[in-house]
Subunit: 185 residues, 2 copies
DNA sequence: GACGATACGGAACGTGCGCCCCGCTTCGCT
DNA sequence: AGCGAAGCGGGGCGCACGTTCCGTATCGTC
């Protein structure tokens, strides 16, 4: 467990693999063959396995960074003065990222993995703050829970990422956003 | 092309395969191995291929029936006196079927297939009537299009079908339904 | 009941992909 | 420069799955 520092070339290759994986997973989701990622990184498949025990581990490494980004963003917004637009801002950011990060739904779904679950838990906590503040401020309906929100976002990301028409994505997003507002009646 | 009548055992096997495929696809989506479907039908894989040229063709045969069901339902509701609740009713029906028909999203997505596209076109036409009537009646916001609706439903079905908590599904559905209402402002 | 046509079953093939192995290269220290 | 250790590459294995082939069984007719 002495975590000896990596040799220079090893570190370089590791970084290249991560970069290639980030790009490939982002564009096409978890489905990309590992050999392709290796090739894009200018590396043999064996090298990928020297650094990551499994394809899933590689995916998690990439996803972890993505989710941690989201957490940081959510936390930053949580201190904004207007809870409603803080919530909106977060949702909008997600919608905008949808087609640049096709793997986000998979990442959110794969909460079963080690280490990943911590990040997802953090995300849930951060969303909890964002959501609760927006709810008490009357910007979001009260009966929605954090799991609901995540499920909704997952679906939204999938739809927006799958369909090519950006206008459709915007309208669908608007429907969901409006549905999240308090309903009179 | 003389479409000679099938031998008795052939017809029986064909029906069994269709029934098994319907059940398997419905429960687990397009992903089920074909061998498993064959086994469930008490038949060898070769027999399946005697009746359907490809796995996709089998899936389409099942999907076609599902989509045609939806079309019939939508058409029936289209003549109801209250356009708003007709629309709601259709949505509710879909939400209720979500976990019994896990393949519905795939079926809606696979509009690229022959014959299938006809059925999807019919569904679009039927939805068009349902939607237009609900919109003119003021029950649904005017900026939503049929493709929007289908994308939304696809996402909804996926989310509801994936998650095990039925209460979550109900709340998510409520959010979407409310988001589809005309927004004041 | 016998014969040809039809259909069946499941072993086998091809492909795609995750993952491992091992001979060779490269690094880093002295 | 030289040597041991660390790392690399890519061929190859095993598995899953869609699809095909063909020897055998079943059907339907005369």
């Amino acid at each position: 467990m002495a975590d000896r520092p990596l040799r220079a070339d090893a570190r370089r290759n590791r970084d290249r693999v991560l970069a290639a994986a980030d790009a490939a997973f982002g564009e096409r989701g978890f489905g990309v063959p590992l050999d392709e990622i290796a090739a894009a990184a200018g590396v043999g498949p064996g090298t990928v396995y020297r650094h990551f025990p499994t394809k899933e581990a590689l995916f998690e490494a990439v996803s972890l960074a993505r989710v941690q980004d989201l957490v940081a963003d959510a936390q930053a917004r949580a201190t904004a003065t207007d809870p409603g637009s803080a919530f909106d801002g977060f949702l909008t950011r997600l919608a905008e990222e949808a087609d640049r990060k096709r793997d986000l739904p998979d990442a959110l779904a794969g909460a079963g993995a080690r280490g990943m679950s911590d990040a997802v838990a953090e995300l849930q906590a951060a969303l909890d703050v964002l959501l609760a503040r927006a709810q008490t401020a009357g910007a979001v309906r009260g009966d929605v829970t954090v799991p609901d929100l995540i499920a909704l976002l997952k679906g939204l990301l999938q739809v927006v990422g799958t369909d090519s028409d950006p206008a459709l994505g915007r309208r669908v997003f608007a429907v969901v956003r409006d549905g999240l507002r308090p309903q009179q009646g």
